[in-house]
């Protein structure tokens, strides 16, 4: 085309989509462009669970324990990330990060309680 502008386009990597990939292939698309996508998603879910538990407790009882909310949310995200590894959207590296983070918080929660 005479005098036309050249436009560079980046197409998303759709190699995870095949005839038999199903919903798992669809969930795996962001991993091809950014490997830590689902780590951020799970961190967001963790934050939502923590703030929900904490603020509900604060509303009902006047005070809330942030550490116990964090620990309970950690248990939830461990289960979620295990399901993620079964679906193939969470790799071992991310799983290890989640596990270390969760277990440290659960450990502190166990040791910090009053007698």
């Amino acid at each position: 085309m005479e005098g036309g502008d050249i436009i560079m386009v980046n197409y998303p990597n759709l190699s995870s989509l095949t005839n038999s990939s199903g919903i798992e292939g669809l969930l795996r698309i962001p991993n091809d462009s950014y490997p830590y996508y689902w780590l951020w998603m799970i961190s967001g879910i963790w934050l939502i669970i923590v703030s929900t538990l904490y603020f509900i407790e604060r509303e009902k009882r006047g005070t809330g324990k942030i550490l116990s909310s964090m620990a309970v949310a950690c248990l939830a995200i461990v289960v979620l990330s295990t399901i993620g590894t079964i679906l193939g959207i969470i790799s071992l590296d991310i799983m290890i990060y989640i596990l270390v983070f969760s277990l440290i918080i659960v450990g502190i929660w166990f040791w910090s309680g009053k007698d």
């Binding site: 461990v78 590894t85 079964i86 193939g88 290890i96």
Partner: protein
Amino acid sequence: MTSIKNILSRMIMLGVLVFAIMSFIIISQNNNNVNVSDRLTNNTLINESYGDLENRLNQQTSSENALNALEEVPPQDYVGDLDVASTVSATRTARSIITGLWNIYVKLPMVILGVDPAVAGAITTILLIFMAIGIWAIWKGAIS
């Protein structure tokens, strides 16, 4: 007021909880045919504790296998590492739970943070000495 009974019961509860979490992840990954490269037991530290424990418990099906589990002693710990060796098979199997907890809580964060093994060994040694002194101090009533 912290007592030995309290500390021990918390340690036991925490151990059971961590063990339950780990076995939940490992068993559900094994049963659902997750890629071998994505399995939690693919990590060296976790495999040498919890993977070995799972193998050893699976081995206890016949007397011959139990004897093999009794005889097999791979010495692979370095200086400063927590080593609770025993000669009886059952406690050797249970030892994996203790070292597994230790691996998860002390060694795994060090591996992720990229601490050198020698430095990790030194920190572990200092930590163990302080734990021994702390338990002794609580036992003697110096800390209440």
